[in-house]
């Protein structure tokens, strides 16, 4: 007998013996083990804790009562979220204008310089009125809100409020056959859906985890906030006076977010009744004590890590998107630019869901990063009239409303589509890596897209019916 065979034999013996002993312990093994460990832990803690105090004392307990109270729990949640939206919009307004002004001034200056240097007009057009303009929009629209929203959210997280949200929301998730911790993964999705998908690892049951992965998309991520905020401010809030306007904008963001939560619940319910049938698994959630958030630290990390990271992603994506748009716009077939051909082909489908061909084209180009949807739309629209001044929200409104016929219905359709459509390519890749399943990755990609088309179509039909 060789060494290897001997070893194999030995392993067999070991496993057989273990199996026999396992049987003899008649299933009480783990109970006994856990009990003996805890007995020991209790004894050690008794002897080394000199003053035992009370971990749950003082205002924590009272705040917890309010935060999880059947009557006050949910209103407090809405109030906090609405307040964050409102502060974000109100606070971002002025800095956004300032940044936009600076960047667009630079566009004019650089274009002028290129003209003086005798650079070919196509280069100036591509570089400054194309790519730079797209970038300028990304930066001025995204940076201020992100720089306000993320720190506020992180402070809330540091304080310890999120588990209370999960506690309150669990009743809803239970009714749709999902896990209460899904609320936590959704909170992570606010920052980035890919991160939200990874965070679903806290859910033990594969069934409930898949539900959380597939529905994470219905939480608007940072790439989609700019689209939502822009539509909310320049369309929905526009008719109102300035002070009321930001309240209206915040309310409409709130409405979109709540609709996302509603869709999450509906789709979770649908999944747990069809593809992912099963019974609820064990739910345990620790509610840690509240802690004083470190404000400065939070400001610093969320500014550097989240805001700059997100912005950087947008910037490196915006340049190639600008290039694609430019190439499509300057490759002529039969006298018309390629982009027009594509947009025209997509147009009927776009109209069906309250949008148009250009928006759909932008969404295709923006699959790698939702951040660049609006810049891509702007680049595509303004290609025909590259020279128009587009240095303020007013000018943007003019471009969209007067030149391309957008209405408040278009704006709401865009918000709905932005909320519901397929996840970005990074998120899709993450879903693949987490599930290792082509099937579930496909479901997570195409289910939201289908839902987006259906919801948008219904919305347009309802509007048509009443108008």
């Amino acid at each position: 007998m060789t060494d290897a065979e001997g070893r194999k034999q030995h392993i067999q013996n070991l496993l057989q013996k273990a199996e026999r002993l396992h049987q003899n312990l008649d299933g009480s093994f783990s109970d006994r083990l856990v009990s003996s460990i805890y007995k020991e832990a209790t004894a050690i803690a008794r002897s080394s804790v000199i003053e035992s105090g009370n971990r749950r004392a003082g205002w924590d307990v009272y705040f917890d009562r309010i935060a999880t109270h059947p009557v006050t729990g949910f209103p407090l949640m809405f109030l906090i979220l609405a307040a964050i939206f409102w502060i974000t919009i109100e606070g971002a307004n002025y800095p956004s204008q300032l940044i936009a002004r600076g960047l667009f001034w630079f566009e004019g200056w650089a274009a002028g310089l290129f003209f003086q240097l005798g650079a070919p007009p196509w280069l100036t057009g591509f570089l400054w009125h194309g790519v730079w303009r797209g970038l300028a929009w990304v930066v001025s629209v995204m940076l201020p809100p992100m720089a306000i929203f993320f720190p506020l959210f992180t402070i809330l997280e540091d304080f310890g409020y999120l588990p209370r949200v999960a506690f309150n929301m669990d009743a809803l998730f239970r009714r749709v056959g999902a896990h209460g911790k899904q609320a936590l993964t959704m909170a992570m999705g606010f920052g980035c859906n890919a991160a939200g998908v990874i965070s679903t690892r806290i859910i033990d049951s594969p069934r409930e985890r898949l539900i959380a992965i597939i529905t994470n998309n219905f939480v608007p991520c940072n790439g989609r906030w700019p689209t939502l905020i822009m539509m909310a401010t320049i369309f929905i809030a526009a008719p109102f006076p300035a002070g009321v306007g930001s309240l209206v904008a915040a309310a409409s963001l709130m409405a979109v977010t709540l609709f996302g939560v509603f869709m999450t619940l509906v789709v979770s319910f649908g999944l747990s009744k069809t593809l992912l049938k099963g019974t609820p698994s064990v739910f345990t959630l620790e509610l840690p004590p509240y802690r004083k958030p470190r404000i400065l630290q939070t400001l610093y990390t969320s500014l550097i890590d989240r805001t700059i990271f997100v912005l950087w992603r947008a910037i490196i994506m915006a340049a190639p998107a600008g290039a694609v748009i430019w190439i499509l716009g300057n490759t002529h077939i039969g006298g018309l630019p390629l982009s027009n051909h594509i947009a025209n082909a997509l147009d009927p489908l776009g109209r069906l869901i309250g949008l148009d061909g250009v928006v759909l084209l932008a969404y295709i180009i923006a699959i790698p990063a939702n951040e660049i949807v609006i810049p891509t739309i702007i680049m595509a629209y303004s290609q025909a009239s590259m020279m128009i001044e587009l240095d303020s929200l007013e000018a943007l409104r003019h471009l969209l409303v007067d030149q391309h016929g957008w209405t408040i219905v278009t704006a709401i359709s865009l918000m709905l589509f932005s909320l519901l459509h397929n996840p970005c390519s990074t998120t899709i890749l993450t879903i693949w890596k987490e599930t290792r399943s082509a099937k579930w990755t496909a479901v997570a990609t195409f289910l939201p897209l289908t839902i987006a088309f259906i919801v948008n179509f219904l919305f347009v039909q309802i509007v048509l019916f009443f108008m």
């Binding site: 783990s30 109970d31 856990v34 009990s35 805890y38 971990r55 749950r56 307990v61 917890d64 009562r65 999880t68 059947p70 009557v71 729990g73 949910f74 506690f167 309150n168 669990d170 009743a171 239970r174 209460g180 033990d204 609820p280 698994s281 064990v282 739910f283 345990t284 959630l285 620790e286 509610l287 840690p288 004590p289």
Partner: protein, 77 residues
């Protein structure tokens, strides 16, 4: 008289007698400290009484009612 953990009111305390749960569910709860003999207190109940948060070994842990209904306790009066 033994009752289930779900029947306790907020602020009430009890000793765990038995867990009528199996497999991973039983395991998870025991790992969190819900072992027989341990004292628990009801800290909070959500709307419709589900989930329920308990204080066990100085930490606050929420369970669903359906699980609490399977934990037999002896109330401390």
């Amino acid at each position: 008289m033994p009752i289930t953990l779900a029947e306790l009111d907020r602020g009430q305390r009890a000793h765990i007698v038995e867990l009528r749960l199996h497999g991973l569910e039983r395991r998870r709860l025991m790992d969190l400290g819900f072992t027989p003999g341990t004292e628990v207190e009801v800290a909070m109940k959500a709307a419709s009484g589900d989930p329920i948060a308990f204080v066990v070994r100085n930490t606050q842990i929420a369970l669903r009612k359906q699980q609490a209904e399977n934990i037999i306790v002896e109330p401390i009066s």
